[in-house]
Subunit: 239 residues, 2 copies
DNA sequence: TGAGTTTCCGTCAACATGACGGATAGTGGG
DNA sequence: CCCACTATCCGTCATGTTGACGGAAACTCA
């Protein structure tokens, strides 16, 4: 607010993306191998600097996402996660990064193209264990907790599913993201009873082996009421 | 990620604060009257640009808060709300602002000093109705919804209270922030039963008129379990 | 046709919630 | 000194939600 002999400091603004999906019965995150210093060769979140001083932040996130994964909209869920600005998080210069959380269904792996190097899916557990560029481990941990938490009181879980899905598939999303088993019957009762969560797609089925399951489409609700709580054992809270 | 003839664009980074408290039986927010263009004379959130290109973002938020309100730690709750970066949110140049949500007990109004102009408490309802600088109305709306939501599943409400408080005072916080009445007995049962929410301060009382109430101190828990839900009628979800 | 598999439904005890009434413990006035 | 007044605190009960389980229904494959 002071307007004296002082000038507004300039900062480099980046966007990073924590792109989550469920593949091969695992929660996986999209990572790229860095081709340039710093952290050359290390795994990192896809992302990059604003294309211009006037580019909108969320637009930049969508652009990076499209560049890295080749997909735009669809069943895509994109929300701002948090901004990270530790002064020494980038050894080159001051960079603050606005991070986004994206959730996708398990697509036919369009991951390939993109501007940076090879992008690949990595199980989040492995990602959190292995060394990562910058403060990306912290970011992934935050994204994971945000996702787990939002499954409780929003309909975010449907963003992991294709356009049409069964209750069992939805339950698998919860079980995989939370890392715990759920009672199939109670889960079925809750999600089919929750207002606006699931819309029965006319009448259809799909085969798995046993009795055909009803197919659902995601409903208009974004909040889940009543909430679907995990047993116990959480972490922080956005902080 | 492209590393060609392109240079990283510079952006001005600001921090803004949504400082909430409960005063005079109302939820109020700290606003300043702008003394400079743009939006001279309009009400705005306290905040400002980073002091230097290396200042930490949260440090900057604490600095601005101290400058405007004269207080540092205490019962202070400070968390990042969201980053706003619409390209035309500031008519002068590209500015993105990292916003923080602060919650304070009703202090003896240390508001006065500060670098910018006069700061004053404004009922959030009035703040949302009246004209505000920049996109601050949107920010306040987000801060309000975040606060209301966090009262449900965290112990944030205690941040509105002084070090020692009664159950009735805590209930008033919920009622004022949510704008709805709560059953005193059920509320009492829930909060005193919730693990780690309230710690009875030895044995003390305070007078109000009737039977002396037990005094409590905030407990170690940050998450509330089970949650304390408002009746119905919410808004978005962080989006 | 029967075994195997998976979805779907019903029930019941345990727990939490919403709604009351009433006992308790102070204050202040006559 | 006693009595109205007020606010806190406690107990109960009907209702709704959760957790746990068994079993019927529907389809495939041998």
């Amino acid at each position: 607010m002071t307007e004296e002999e002082w000038t507004i400091p300039d900062v480099a603004v980046a966007v990073d993306l924590a792109v989550l999906t469920v593949r091969a019965e695992q929660l996986q995150i999209l990572l790229v191998e860095r081709g340039i210093e710093p952290f050359r060769g290390a795994l990192a979140l896809p992302g990059g600097f604003l294309a211009s001083a006037l580019e909108d932040i969320e637009k930049a996130a969508r652009r990076e996402l499209a560049e890295e994964t080749g997909l735009a909209a669809d069943g895509l869920h994109l929300e701002q996660l948090r901004t990270y600005g530790n002064p020494d998080r980038d050894p080159r210069r001051r960079v603050i990064t606005v991070c986004y959380l994206a959730v996708l269904p398990n697509l036919p792996v369009p991951v390939a193209g993109g501007d940076a190097d090879e992008a690949r899916w990595v199980p989040v557990e492995a990602a959190l264990a292995g060394p990562l560029a910058f403060d990306h481990a912290r970011i992934i941990a935050d994204a994971l907790e945000r996702t787990r938490s939002k499954l409780e009181y929003t309909t975010l879980a449907t963003a992991f599913c294709p356009a049409e899905f069964t209750v069992t598939e939805l339950r698998r999303v919860y079980e995989i993201v939370w890392g715990e088993q759920l009672e199939p019957r109670n889960f079925h009762r809750k999600v089919t009873g929750a207002e606006g969560f699931l819309v029965p797609t006319g009448e259809k089925t799909i085969r798995n082996g046993g009795r055909p399951a009803l197919l659902y489409r995601r409903g208009p609700a974004t909040l889940l009421h009543p909430a679907l709580l995990r047993s116990r054992g959480s972490l922080e809270v956005t902080a």
